[in-house]
Assembly symmetry: C2
Homo-oligomer: 436 residues x 2
């Protein structure tokens, strides 16, 4: 059997990313902020497989979305499998499965990769990672306050100032009241209006108003007046004053007031905020980038008290959000907040000749258990080239092993960034590196 000479492409699959160490460094930096903040709020990490039964998404999406916007295929056991496009159905499944044993309220987070089958474009890849934060079991607005405050803390930890971003709130309860009680719309028209509002930012005012008129006919004027309110109080003043309105409005006021008490003041009400998912039932929120050159939604979430009922009919109060890695990285780039690459490696041991490699390995084995991260030269390169290579890899420290060094047991520990040299022995080297 003669083997064909094939030349394979080194390109990744369309719309996904390779993470070289420099990319991984940024990814880990962002994920570590996610983890640190979530854990500081007492949230526990969970995970699941990217493979889920396709039915999990059919329950709350249309067949069209499942077949056209997700990666769904049939396995050889005739099961329909989907590469998860979002994490909420998965976490809902997991919580529902162990509802009896779990201790509520449940504070959970995960950083899964998600897949969407769509045309790759800036900020919209076929695969991305997304922090998911969810709080289960809290009915009142203390859930909103905690989770929104956590989201705020992430933005701050990334390095943004309060003036750089805004937290926008809306209430599905108010929107539903307007659409079904005030406007008396059927469910289908109400959904169409919601989708339309979701696209408002990307349309001209004329086009938007026209589309509203088409859907709402004689009610469109009243609706547009409401929607075009300049602020929360103006919006509220246009609503009826009955108890059912007051309750919904007070919920928003409460969240804003409580966040303010925690020092979070860049919060506004936005009656045009929708957030895509149909499963939201109460307050929804969005973190919005104020950058004048690129005003945009960074991430968001909301309350979804009914979703868990798809499993056993029982509702579980839930509030959560998802924040994607691509846009977070993009914002950090825009605001010049990306950290400078540096490998974990502390020390590169150069060797003046192959014979010193053995001692290099032994020395490395002594330094590693005390926490120094060491790479030993394994090549025949000249020592100058070894140093260049260490420098190119941005490893901060080097020593060079030769006859003199081994005889004396003393090594010149050089900081490649500052050029500073210190004399180190086997015993002092670790502390000279780690305490610098």
């Amino acid at each position: 059997m003669e083997k064909k000479v094939i030349k394979l492409s080194t390109e990744a699959y369309k719309g996904v990313r390779d993470f070289y160490p420099e990319d991984m460094f940024i990814q880990n930096y962002i994920f570590n902020i996610f983890k640190k903040v979530c854990e500081s709020y007492g949230y526990n990490e969970y995970n699941a497989s990217v493979l889920e039964p396709a039915d999990l998404y059919r329950a709350k999406s249309s067949e069209e979305i499942v077949t056209e916007q997700t990666y769904t295929f049939t396995d050889r056991g005739d099961r329909e499998v989907t590469l998860r496009p979002e994490m909420t159905p998965t976490v809902a499944r997991m919580v529902s499965a162990r509802k009896q044993e779990l201790s509520f309220p449940l504070r959970w987070y995960s950083i899964p990769n998600l897949f969407r089958y769509e045309k790759p474009q800036k900020g919209r890849l076929r695969e991305h990672w997304q922090l998911n934060v969810d709080l289960f079991g809290v009915t009142d607005t203390s859930a909103e306050v905690e989770v929104v405050s956590l989201a705020y803390t992430i933005m701050k930890e990334i390095g943004l100032k309060d003036t750089d971003f805004q937290i926008r709130l809306n209430s599905r309860k108010i929107m539903n009241y307007i659409l079904s009680d005030l406007m008396s719309l059927d469910e289908v028209t109400a959904q169409k209006i919601c989708r339309l509002i979701d696209k408002k930012q990307k349309m001209s005012t004329e086009d938007f108003d026209l589309a509203v008129k088409e859907l709402l006919t004689e009610k469109s004027a009243e609706f547009l007046t409401l929607l075009n309110s300049q602020n929360f109080e103006e919006f509220v003043s246009k609503l009826p004053k009955g108890q059912e309105v007051v309750e919904k409005v007070d919920e928003i006021r409460e969240v804003v007031a409580k966040l303010e008490k925690l020092g979070i003041t860049n919060v506004i009400f936005d009656q045009t905020l929708m957030r895509g998912f149909d499963y939201y039932t109460g307050i929804v929120f969005e973190v919005f980038d104020n950058n004048p050159e690129n005003r945009r939604s960074v991430f968001g979430g909301g309350r979804y008290d009914d979703l868990l009922a798809i499993f056993d009919g029982q509702k579980v109060p839930a509030f959560g959000f998802g924040a994607g890695d691509v846009i977070i990285r993009d914002i950090m780039e825009t605001y010049k907040l990306l950290p400078e690459y540096r490998p974990k490696t502390d020390l590169y041991i150069c060797t003046l000749a192959k014979e010193y490699q053995e001692y290099g390995n032994e020395l490395a084995q002594k330094l590693r258990p005390v926490g120094v991260k060491v790479a030993v030269n394994l090549t025949d390169k000249k020592v100058g080239d070894q140093i260049k290579s260490a420098d190119k890899q941005k490893i901060p420290y080097i020593i060079c092993l030769g006859e003199d060094e081994l005889k004396k047991g003393e090594f010149k520990l050089k900081n490649l960034k500052t050029g500073e040299e210190k004399v180190a022995t086997e015993d002092t080297m670790a502390s000279l590196i780690l305490n610098s």
Copy 2:
């Protein structure tokens, strides 16, 4: 449109795992050992998508393996996509793509999830995670010594003793010499023999000998004598004494001797060690569990100097291994090395009434920035039940907020495990928790 009442299953897809916080804790514990050891050797983390072009696997596997043992499907752009069954083709692709810019030797690691389409069974799931460690650009045995030593360190960091496991070495060069030069086998028969040896452990001696006889006919006796050697020296004594044999044999001796100098003495030569992949070209190794009740391979790897040539015809020396999470977890369980679960959360703030929650949140916001991980009670549960819930979640510390505490500014910080109580103020609480 009336919605159907559907009751969805909460089960995960067949053969994959859900990671609840307790599972994630173990997973993270194992991954942190992987990361710590790899980084202590100067290895840099990389990653890629689980989606790869199916052609990547066709190059070095049969069409049969790709279509029957992997998850491969056609996307709507008519591209054949595979969920990666192993990481080596991916890392080879990434290294080949940037060969000009990368600084060799290249020390890389990753902990990807991998998919295999097979009947789920103990230790063999459809999805598992695998540490992949690879060293590119080193032709001599210093690569073997470094990477095997790293693998050894992982076993030690997991908590195993030298007597608990063994490192087994073999050389594809020696095997190829025996099969093609000594036995004059064609490639197909040689491959069949290799696969047979791979299954030896699971066969009776009679069945194995019989299968060898069928394949090798009159040469089988000589081959079985070689294969049944009791140790390396006996094996070597049965080989011809020419230069080409000596070189291959010396390579093994060198690796064993160098590992010994580094204090790694549980290393043996095993002429029956094959390791599945066809792309190995030199020394292969395996970490073997000595547990008398369950002697088994834990993980392994080898040299694959030719693999990168599938991209542009150019070879790059490479040595690496992959270690799966399922078997590592299993071994830790067998040897009682699994850590006891404890969440990251340090402190649970209980509230005697809803009105103290606001101060609870404010106190939490003061403690978080200095590193205390705090969850605040958001429920109307009685304080006794709040404490029970904190205890069930294994959170080590609690304080209870009531009128007295707020007035005095003093809190009883209780360690739920020891029962010990200390008086803390806003200012002393963090250090009492973090320095305990």
